[in-house]
């Protein structure tokens, strides 16, 4: 490639451009050397964005002798300082907001001071010049003119010629003003003071107005807005939850305008669920926050379990370390905490991750067929490693109060121990040992409700036959992967939380009569009184119930058949 090659020029231009972008003048000679590879078989590797950036930094540092870094650091420090000043300055203004007049005076002060000095100086100068001239006979008429100003109606012969003789180079208003005031032959001094007063008045009022407007528009700017938003957020939160002992007690069940949610409200009162969310201090803002603002609002109580206490979020510190190997420890301690502090305040205890989305209303629909005294737990049932199977940790699982009691007792009596850090498997093994039954969480069409992946994967992905998932599922997967009344999905990111909330609770097809008419759960059926829906459901649910019975009997192999019969 020669010098005259257009590509060469292009490369030079690109380099020049990059240097200019970095704030350096691309002067002097730019030499471009192209290195070629020896062997052709090797694939071309392009630098990643980060590498390109750091390479560029290096290049520029070499060229500028490191001053670029210094400059950048300076800029950063300056920005930090500006932020602090802005925030703290605004804070001070906040505390003084009640007395806005004070702050006005504070800014007014320099201008008032200057105007006062100017007027004083001008007054002194004028007095001095007046004393120079034979001012005696001037004073009297001037005084008279002054008097005339105060009582404009009274005309005096002596004043008139003076008025007429005064020159009027400027506009009518000033002319009239000067006429009123009554300039003497030595009009210069008065005129001067008038002009200076005019200028001072303009400036003063301008400053005053700017101050007023600035105050009105100040809330829109920068970090002050963030502060305001933060305040607003706290206010909002106070309305949603009552914070007590690191748990959030749901004050009001989220409602929609124009919806009839009396069934959901009934279940809310009858099936009390305590949701505890496994999170960590690094994930509070990234993940747990979104859980807090979406599905956890539908729990009766929600507790965020972390390794570290945080009274603001709030989270409970379990005193463990973070990491996959700590999962079972965290689970054990979390359940113990829930049992010690909230055993009587909830009927069911749900464990979820901070990337699990749970539709709590649908969970209540399933659990309403059972009671808190049944030793049973529900989730997405997996086959291997345990006789009655175990529940997938990521898809979430829920223990009845009796199951929780047995879990805690199991640890006290050393029947259950920390066997493995594979939390869900260990939990399944413990449950089996203490005689808690693994329940069937499928709907009346035998479709799964707890899901270990996101909806997109369950609905569309064609998992290969060799995928572990197929051999893990306890129940055969039918043609429909997911129930209409699905309970949970896993590996849901922040945006996915809001999207699922939108799909489940908000977006709908107007007037659509769903194919799947869900049967009323047992817990509600007995209380239904004469509404159309309940009767229809009663008729529908009778055959549904029969469908349920054979499914349950199939698993009635474990020794606690008596409890299973009671649970039914």
């Amino acid at each position: 490639m020669g010098e005259g090659d257009p590509q060469w020029q292009h490369i030079k231009d690109v380099v020049k451009e990059q240097l200019e972008k970095a704030g350096l003048k691309a002067e002097g000679k730019i030499e471009v050397k192209i290195l070629t590879r020896k062997n052709v078989e090797e694939d071309d590797q392009w630098l990643t964005e980060e590498d390109t950036k750091s390479f560029r930094e290096l290049l520029i540092n070499l060229l500028t002798g490191g001053t670029e870094e210094v400059y950048k650091e300076q800029k950063r420090q300056q920005e930090l300082e500006n932020n602090y000043r802005f925030v703290w300055g605004e804070n001070q203004e906040d505390s003084q907001s009640s007395s806005t007049s004070d702050s006005d005076d504070m800014d007014f002060f320099p201008f008032v001071f200057t105007s006062v000095t100017v007027s004083f100086v001008s007054g002194v100068w004028l007095a001095f010049t007046r004393r120079r001239s034979d001012a005696e006979h001037r004073d009297k008429p001037r005084r008279r003119s002054f008097v005339r100003f105060q009582r404009p109606r009274r005309s005096s012969v002596g004043a008139d010629p003076r008025r007429r003789s005064s020159s009027c180079p400027l506009s009518v208003s000033t002319c009239a003003a000067s006429a009123d005031i009554g300039f003497s032959m030595k009009a210069g001094s008065s005129r001067f003071s008038f002009y200076s007063g005019f200028v001072v008045g303009t400036f003063a009022l301008y400053v005053f107005l700017r101050q007023v407007w600035f105050e009105r528009t100040a809330p829109d700017t920068g970090s002050f807005a963030d502060l305001g938003e933060f305040q607003q957020q706290l206010e909002e939160e106070k309305k949603i939850w009552k914070k007590e002992r690191s748990a959030l007690f749901n004050l009001k069940h989220p409602h929609h305008i124009g919806e009839d949610s009396h069934l959901a409200d009934e279940l809310y009162k009858k099936v009390r669920i305590l949701c505890w969310v496994m999170t960590g201090p690094n994930n509070l803002e990234k993940k747990a926050r979104h859980v807090k603002y979406t599905w956890s609002r539908h729990c009766n109580i929600v507790i965020f379990m972390s390794s570290v206490d945080d009274p603001d979020f709030p989270t409970v510190g379990l005193g463990t370390k973070e990491g996959r190997d700590q999962l079972y420890w965290k689970t054990i301690r979390a359940f113990h905490y829930a049992y010690e502090h909230h055993a009587e305040e909830a009927d069911w205890f749900l464990k979820a991750d901070d990337d699990t989305y749970v539709i709590v209303d649908n969970l209540r629909w399933i659990l309403a067929n059972y009671t808190a005294q049944d030793p049973i737990y529900f989730g997405r049932r997996f086959k291997p490693y345990a006789k009655q199977g175990y529940m997938s940790g990521g898809a979430g699982y829920v223990l009845s109060r009796e199951a929780l009691r047995r879990f805690v007792e199991g640890f006290q009596s050393k029947v259950c121990t920390h066997t493995t850090s594979v939390e869900d498997l260990a939990m399944g093994q413990c449950m089996e040992k203490v005689g808690v039954k693994a329940g069937d969480s499928r709907d009346s069409e035998h479709r799964e409700t707890f899901h270990p992946f996101v909806p997109e994967q369950h609905l569309t992905a064609k998992f290969p036959k060799s995928f572990w998932y197929w051999s893990y599922c306890y129940y055969p997967i039918g043609p429909q992967c997911c129930s209409d009344l699905s309970v949970s999905f896993h590996y849901v990111d922040a945006a996915g939380m809001y999207l699922l909330e939108y799909y489940a609770y908000h977006l709908r097809a107007f007037g659509y009569r769903h194919r799947y008419q869900s049967p009323t759960p047992k817990g509600l059926r007995l209380e239904q009184s004469g509404s159309r829906d309940s009767e229809k459901h009663h008729q529908e649910s009778a055959p549904e119930e029969e469908k349920r019975v054979p499914a349950d009997h199939k698993e009635d192999r474990p020794p606690d058949a008596k409890e299973a019969a009671e649970g039914k």
């Binding site: 001008s122 007054g123 004028l126 001037r142 100003f149 208003s173 000033t174 003003a177 009123d180 005031i181 008065s190 005129r191 003071s193 008038f194 007063g197 005019f198 200028v199 001072v200 008045g201 303009t202 003063a204 009022l205 301008y206 929609h256 124009g258 919806e259 009839d260 949610s261 009396h262 069934l263 959901a264 279940l267 603002y293 209303d361 209540r364 629909w365 997109e456 609905l459 569309t460 043609p479 209409d484 699905s486 922040a494 945006a495 809001y498 999207l499 939108y502 799909y503 489940a504 908000h506 977006l507 709908r508 097809a509 107007f510 007037g511 659509y512 009569r513 769903h514 799947y516 869900s518």
Partner: protein
């Protein structure tokens, strides 16, 4: 001495008044400017529940329900085959009549082959065909295969509107002085609007087949120009709260924006509960939306809507 002081004071007062005058004048001029700038946005809002129950009895509402029938005109091409297939599998099943109009025939899927490569000419042919085969249908919905539409919500929007009046609805955009409905978020035409359009198609001076300007206008703008000649203007479809029902973006990007703009109220600030269209979603995302709209729901929350729409025959994903 005194007169100096007094003249100074007078000067100050005059200066203050002068400054006030200037500032007031300064604030007045932008106001007069904006008045000339403001354009009129036509809005069409869905009837609220109270309005429906107030104006119509139950049987009347049922009657309206039976009358509102939507003919879906879906413009496809073999190069968008995967989207075409997804539309067939998903939302088009809820149209009363769904016709696919293609630029050239495809061996894989059936459609009405218009044998036309020019977008505007193809749209004209498709609309003409739809008009001639409308039968009893009084509403037409023009979509692309990258659009996802919830027809029940569209019916709710147009429920109380008379199809013998010209309606041209969707997401309105502005190009200079022209108000037009964006193509990718779906175009709704009433029978009257389509009738006028078909008539003006024959007028080469007003609505030429090969497009008028030196540069090519997109088909949605061309449509707006032709309709404007017949006295039909674009109107923005909104729900009872004023939120836009037709979206030319994916639901994910709208949610991502809402996370940035209203972090404390993401879902409320994002999209309408009765949204009609989204655009640009991948086929997988469309399947998920199908599940989210027609199946996934929380138990115990009922909306006693004044209309009932039944699921279509021969379908299982809704």
């Amino acid at each position: 001495m005194l007169s100096e002081g007094s003249s100074f004071m007078k000067g100050m007062v005059m200066g203050g008044l002068f400054c006030l005058l200037l500032s007031l004048l300064g604030t007045f001029s932008p106001i007069s400017d904006s008045k000339t700038d403001s354009h009129h946005h036509h809005h069409v809002k869905a009837a609220s529940k109270e309005e429906l129950s107030r104006r119509f009895s139950d049987s009347q509402v049922q009657e309206l329900n039976n009358q509102v029938q939507v003919y879906c005109v879906i413009m496809v091409q073999p190069k968008t085959l995967i989207y075409w297939a997804t539309v067939i599998e998903t939302w088009s099943k809820h149209c009363d009549k769904a016709e696919f109009y293609t630029s050239e025939s495809s061996k894989a899927l059936e459609a009405i082959d218009l044998k036309e490569n020019d977008d505007w000419a193809r749209l004209r042919k498709a609309l003409k065909h739809a008009y001639e085969n409308a039968g009893d249908m009084r509403w037409f919905f023009v979509a692309q295969p990258t659009t996802f539409a919830i027809i029940e919500n569209l019916k709710y929007l147009i429920l109380t509107k008379d199809p013998d009046e010209p309606f041209y609805l969707g997401k309105t955009m502005k190009s200079g002085e022209l108000d037009y409905v964006a193509y990718d978020s779906g175009i709704v035409l009433s029978y009257e609007a389509l009738k006028r359009l078909i008539n003006v198609f024959q007028d080469e001076s007003k609505c030429p087949e090969k497009g008028r300007a030196l540069w090519k206008l997109s088909e949605d703008k061309q449509l707006a120009v032709c309709l404007k000649y017949t006295g039909v203007f674009a109107e923005n479809g909104e729900d009872a709260h004023g939120k836009g029902l037709f979206n030319s973006r994916t639901v994910d990007s709208l949610i991502a924006d809402s996370i940035k703009e209203n972090p404390n109220d993401v879902v409320e600030g994002c999209c309408s509960d009765l949204a009609v269209t989204f655009s640009g979603m991948s086929p997988n995302q469309m399947h998920v939306m199908m599940f989210g709209v027609y199946r996934l729901r929380p138990y115990g929350h009922d909306f006693h809507d004044s209309l009932v729409f039944y699921p279509p025959e021969g379908s299982d994903n809704d």
